[in-house]
Each structure stands twice: as structure tokens, then as C-alpha cells.
Symmetry: C2
Subunit: 361 residues, 2 copies
């Protein structure tokens, strides 16, 4: 790939342009707002001059609702040899294009699974996709040359290609992304009317479950509006399980011993299924969650405490696999949980204790 | 407080005993399994010899289902001046005691809100309660002397006392602990039947939402069996919101523009309420969540990377408020999100960049 045209210079478009430009591809930038394209160009993502002839690859990076139209316009104008989009849903845009009776052999739908707390070109970075899955949804009609252009883009961005059917992709993100978002919001919403004293009892569990409930509602309305069917299907399954859970809890209130036992079995089953599902969530580097040992260390809230702890762990030759900081309530101290390979836990505890740290067993 | 008797030497009982013994209180240890009491004594938590006369405070730290009986036995034998339990629910044990027509002026129900990934005396530590809320549920009948003994215990354990009504406590933990546990399990359970490819798309959002779905089902059946009513009430509220959410998503599938707009408004409302509830979850030190800036740094998976990063931040004079490690998929690299006060973000980014770190904007 020698030339590319990025249409839509938001977070995703500008990040891809930065990655391509950094690897020597001549990148042209276009946006319905020329100021944004200029900003992206100023960041080193390419030029906002239009290309003189067809480029190798056109990357359409506009919101889901505008994706099909932007693709159709680009294809109609013959701007490139191959075309792809990066919208977070794949079935809808494809069906819209099919309805236009376009030749789709030069098109491939894709979706880079990259986080974005912020949006716009200023939030972009060439490393946004580094190590993340990037879904490609070729069909029987997709030219191999176009698939290879998409694979080259993914490789130049440092992402990991994952090939999927468009509708399977939409069902997958409904399950692993859209459903957790809505359930996190629903759990958090219950706190709106809670007493201040009740809220003081929040611990790390609810903090984790509700973290993404702080997400931007407008962005999520856009995403969910493009994928309502698959999300509703998954949520209907959760709703059925939830009704079963409420029934089991009501049985636990019964005066009848047998009914209570049935209720306990029902609750145990809900929790057991949760264990099974959770075990499938990939951990570090896409592997199954490793069973790390936790070494918990008490720290004060002064600058340098974390630095000292990590330096001491490093000095002991122990690799920290993951870290979690639990905050204390009402006083200036916290607990740092260091996750390490089981064989390294004893060594690390001893080394940190020797250097004066207070370790919780 | 000069003498105490801890009945039940699991994680909580042994940790409290260690804290008391460490502050000079003469602690006696009892357990239905004498081996566990011996283990706790060997850890320095006190003596497993029975006290010669009544102690100042008896701490009953047995599972919820056995709490009322253990308290009644201890009170019947006149083992102490004051009695408290540490069960995770408070209404049920109190009503069981009231049904026995005991004089409850010497009793106070309490609940230390301390995490416990592991159980048993070997997991205990004197600092388990450090900085955590410890709920006390005195009634009009509670002797002030007994309330003061409980407050002294909480202070000696380094915890933060929170006074609540017993039933309000049970409703609060249903909301902030038991409900998030069950919803986390229900979301995770949906992954059981998912395709391997779908599971590969899991990101940090679902990883956080389902973290506590890995909890021990037996422990949670015990906890939920003691608090089924309040949990069922909260879940019924979530179920109603969930049904509303599914209806809004189905409206988004409509051919009718007005109905679609109504669906989008409904979803926006669900997400907005989630924002509001999440904003009430206390962050560090029990304060409202501060709006930290995130400085995201790419690191390799070698020992010492985190140590270097924290040392460099320290060198720049910046206090890291919180940290999150995001793991890359399929390659040995990750992203560290450093949360800092907004005013420190630019300084930290510049300092880390100068020292060769790759910062994601």
C-alpha cells in the first residue's frame, strides 16, 4: 500500500492515518468539517489536499449512521482500489449498501476494537490499535486484493486481525460490549435514590461493576441505535435469568424448608454459571485468565509510595502482572494489590516486608 | 478494653483478634473446630485457653446462619460484659435473638465491610479492617457502655465506624454489594455459550463488569440466604428497568421515525440515570469520584517497566492517584493508565516522554 485516503478525521480515522503516515504511506485526509482535516494534517497524519488519482485504500471513519452514504459516495467517485469502513456495527451498513445495488467486491467492512475515553483528532495516536483485535468481515464477493489491503492496514496499525461474519460480529459486540454497558448503567442507576450512608458502604465490587456507567450517553445511543436487535436479544436472556433469580430469592424467604432449599440451589446455579462465563473472559495477552497470587500492600498517600513499591518489587526480580489500588474510606491510606505468578508471591512478600512494607496476608 | 473472647476464628475473627492482641488486649480464642483456634493462637492472635471469668467483650464471628445461636449461648453462659457479632446481615440475627426473649441491652450487631478473597485464620491480618467502614447497629435498648466497647474495637482495628439501623444496613448491602454480585454473575453467564471468536473481542469494560463473577458460590449462597428479601426488592427494580430498556431497543428497530426517536430517548435516559448513580459511588478516601486526567503509557512485558514508570513519575514530582493496566491481545505489551490530578497531567506526559516513554494522547 502506497497511498490512502482517510474520510472522517475523528479519533479512529486520525489514529489510522498517523499509523499509516508513520510507516511511509502517502495519506490524504478528508472530513465534512475541513478544520478537523486540517488539525489531523497538522498532527502529522497526512495532507488535507485531495489525491490526484485513485488511492490504494479508502478508509471511511464516520459515525455508523453516515457510513453507508460516505462509502457509496466514495465508490461512486472511484476514489480508490479498495474501500473499508470502521463502524462499530457491520450488518446494517452492509445491508444499506446492498440496497443501493452497488458492486461490493472492492468493499470490506471492518471494526477496530479500540477504547476511546475521548474523541476527535486531538485524542488520536498511532498506537491506538496496538495489540487490539481488528475485526474484518469479508464475504464471498470480496476481492482477495481488497482483503489483503485491509490486512496490510491492520498490520501497519499493529492490531491483530480477526475474521468474522458481519452479523456474527454484531451479535458478539452485543454480548461482550453493549450488554455489559447497559447492565452497568442499570446497576448504577439504582444508587440514585440511595441514602448517603448506604453509598458510603460501596466497595471495590460495585466500583468495578459500575465503572463504565460513567460513559457518554450520546456516543452510546449512536452505537446502540445501530445494533438494537442483537442487544435486545441478549438482554431478553438476561431478563429471563434475572426473573429466575428473583423467584429463587423469594423461595429463600419461604417458611417451607424444601422450598428454601430449592431457592438456595437456584441461587447457587446462578453464581456457578457466572463462574463458568467469567472463566472464558480472556485475561492478559488474550490468554485465559491466569490464576495470579495477590500480594496486598498497605501504602500511604504520599507521592513516591507506588514508585518505591514497584522499584522494590523490581529489585526482588519479580514481574508485576497486574495491579489494583483499593482505596480506604475516610483516611489517607490505601491498599495496593500486586498480582504475580504464584511462584513469585512468597518471594515478593518477603522482599517487601524486609524493606519495611506492611503486607496483608 | 482489657480482655476479649473471639468466638469463631475464621478470617474476620482472627483478624480482629490479631488487631486486639497487637494493641495489648488479652484475647481468648474459641472455635467449634479446636484446630482452627490453635492455628489462630499460633499466629499470635491470643490464647486458646478459656477465660477464667467474664471478659470485657465477646466477638461472635461465625457464619450468619449460626450467629444467633452462638450469641444466645455466650449470653446464657455470662461470658462477657458486652457482646457483638460481625455477620454480613443484621436484621435476621436480631429478630432470632428477640424471638428467644433475651435481654439484648448487652448486645450490638456490627458488620465490618472488609474484602476477603480467601477465608480461614491463615488469610487473616491485623490490618484487614484498616480504613474500611465498620457498621454498628445499636438500638434504643443498647447499653452505652456496650456501644463504647464496640467503638473501641473498631478504633483498635483501624476501621471507620458507621452507625445504621439494622434493616437499613441490610437494604444498603443488598444495593451496594449483593445486587452487583448477582448482576455481574448474570452478565458473565451469557458468555457460557458464546463462540470462541466472540469471546476474543472482550475488552476492559466486560472484564471489569464480570470480575466479581469469579466469587465463591457457596460463600455467596450463605450471604444471600440471610438477606433474600431486600436483594429481591432491588433486583425487581432492576428487572423493571431492564424490561423498559428492551422495549426501547425494540422501538429502535421500528420503521416508524417517531417510535425510533422514542426508543433513542429511552436508551439515553437509561444511560443518563447510570451516569447519575455512578457519580455517587465514592472514590478514593470515600470522597466523590475526582475527575482525574488519564495519562496512558505503552509498556513492554519485562520486569521493571512499571517500576521505571513509577520512578519517573515520582522524579517528576507527580502523585499517581490510581492506576489501571490494560492488556493487549496477542502480543507482549500493555497500556498503563495513570490517573493524576488534571493540573499534573501535562507535566507528567512531558516528563515521561522526555524519558523515552510512548504516551497515548
Amino acid at each position: 500500500m502506497r497511498t490512502a485516503l482517510v474520510i472522517g478525521t475523528g479519533l479512529i480515522g486520525t489514529s489510522a492515518a498517523l499509523a499509516l503516515a508513520g510507516r511511509g504511506v502517502a495519506v490524504h485526509l478528508a472530513d465534512h468539517d475541513p478544520e478537523r482535516a486540517r488539525t489531523a494534517a497538522a498532527l502529522g497524519a497526512g495532507t488535507d489536499d485531495p489525491p490526484e488519482g485513485p488511492v490504494d485504500l479508502a478508509v471511511v471513519a464516520v459515525p455508523p449512521a453516515h457510513t453507508a452514504k460516505a462509502l457509496a459516495d466514495a465508490m461512486g467517485a472511484g476514489l480508490a482500489r479498495g474501500y473499508l469502513d470502521v463502524a462499530s456495527v457491520k450488518g446494517g451498513p452492509r445491508r444499506e449498501l446492498e440496497a443501493l445495488s452497488l458492486d461490493l467486491s472492492a468493499y470490506i467492512g471492518t471494526h477496530p476494537m479500540s477504547g476511546k475515553e475521548r474523541s476527535g483528532p486531538l485524542a488520536a495516536g498511532a498506537d491506538l490499535f496496538e495489540g487490539r483485535p481488528w475485526v474484518l468481515t469479508p464475504t464471498r464477493d470480496t476481492d482477495t486484493e481488497v482483503l489483503n489491503l485491509a490486512l496490510e492496514l491492520v498490520a501497519l496499525c499493529g492490531a491483530v486481525p480477526v475474521v468474522m461474519d458481519a452479523d456474527a460480529h454484531d451479535r458478539a459486540v452485543a454480548l461482550v460490549s453493549h450488554t455489559p454497558q447497559l447492565l452497568s448503567s442499570l446497576v448504577a442507576a439504582r444508587l440514585r435514590e440511595a441514602d448517603e450512608t448506604a453509598v458510603r458502604l460501596c466497595g471495590q465490587g460495585i466500583r468495578d461493576v459500575t465503572r463504565i456507567a460513567a460513559s457518554d450517553p450520546r456516543m452510546w445511543v449512536d452505537i446502540l441505535s445501530a445494533n438494537p436487535g442483537p442487544v435486545a436479544d441478549v438482554l431478553a436472556g438476561v431478563a429471563a435469568d434475572l426473573d429466575e433469580t428473583v423467584r429463587a430469592l423469594r423461595s429463600l424467604q419461604s417458611a417451607d424448608e424444601t422450598e428454601r432449599r430449592g431457592g438456595a440451589d437456584g441461587i447457587q446455579e446462578v453464581l456457578r454459571r457466572g463462574n463458568e462465563g467469567r472463566a472464558r473472559v480472556p485475561g492478559k495477552h488474550g490468554a485465559a485468565p491466569a490464576s495470579y497470587e495477590i500480594v496486598a500492600v498497605l501504602i500511604g498517600d504520599r507521592p513516591g509510595e507506588l514508585a518505591r513499591i514497584f522499584a522494590d518489587a523490581d529489585h526482588a526480580g519479580v514481574n508485576i502482572e497486574d495491579v489494583r489500588i483499593e482505596h480506604a474510606t475516610g483516611r489517607q491510606a490505601g491498599l495496593v494489590q500486586l498480582m504475580v505468578e504464584p511462584m513469585a508471591a512468597t518471594l515478593l512478600s518477603a522482599a517487601l516486608r524486609e524493606r519495611g512494607w506492611s503486607i496483608r496476608q
